[in-house]
Symmetry: C2
Subunit: 172 residues, 2 copies
Amino acid sequence: MNTDNLNINFIRIIGELGANLGLNRSVGQIYGLLYMNDEPLSLDDIVIKLKMSKGSVSLNIRELERWEAVKKIWVRGSRKDFYEVNPDFINVIYKRTNIRTKKILNSFNSAISDFEKNNSLSKVQKERLVQIKKIQGIFQSISNNLPENISLNIISKLSSSLSVLKSILPKK
Amino acid sequence: MNTDNLNINFIRIIGELGANLGLNRSVGQIYGLLYMNDEPLSLDDIVIKLKMSKGSVSLNIRELERWEAVKKIWVRGSRKDFYEVNPDFINVIYKRTNIRTKKILNSFNSAISDFEKNNSLSKVQKERLVQIKKIQGIFQSISNNLPENISLNIISKLSSSLSVLKSILPKK
DNA sequence: TAGAACGTTTAATACGTTTTAAACAATATG
DNA sequence: CATATTGTTTAAAACGTATTAAACGTTCTA
């Protein structure tokens, strides 16, 4: 069985999901296709099924390889490369999100050091600097404590600690 | 005192930070400028300081108003609108992130319901569907338990629960 | 009431990113 | 060795978003 029976709509939606994670549509669509296909697919298969250009698929599939979202596999008797999805979807998203966290952290760091070079800050500006540094510190500690990989299990735990948190918060 | 003494670099960096949060550069820059300026600024002030067009500032400042990142204030004796920053930077980011979480959740929901319409799923495809539904469930519960507002205090707590989590995880 | 001072809207432009088609390089095959 | 098969690179085109300049409507002021 293959993905031909799948509504192409599904692929479209996974594409949008990708876009919301800061990727591009095509990358998401390719992942979606592979995720839903029983068998690994070759570059040409993807070209045909998604009606994309060969160049684009080549480019985007390497992007997917880079985060270990797909794996190149060898199929006996074929010269083609085949691609197999990493079904650990949550981890793929997680890694992606971590990269973004680090980018944000970098922005903070540059902003702070740039700011500190200035030796004629007003009272308000000094306060703001203190504030930003606090935020940076927290982001930094979150980033440091983020595990390499994450499972659904771990997320569930986090999620429940979140609900505990909510119960102790003052009601709005 | 005003922001003239600030390296324009700082504004640039806050712009990039905004971009990493899925905004556009200008929105981030305007926020950065107001964040660092002792006094509220008028639309024209911003136009001059950031060398942006009036239309663009008008558009983007309304965007900032929409998430309560800035507030329009009235200055006695002036016909102009002035804008004051909401210095609760972390909350501004937080709200923004929540919106994105909801978007992702929507993608999941559409993908799942689209998927379920198909009545000839293979074994693998059924497994994948189960997996996706689990992920959706967790995202949903996180989204439900997210507080309306968040303080540095709360984030610190979350951050420390994260480090506890790390300590119980198997070492990679 | 005429003109100035504002902020908003709009249509055109600029810009960056994605996507393509085609040229290319490398490898396998007959 | 010539050709076919495959993936990659590249330059150009297509596309969507951001930005601008200018027109506009409103409100204030003299």
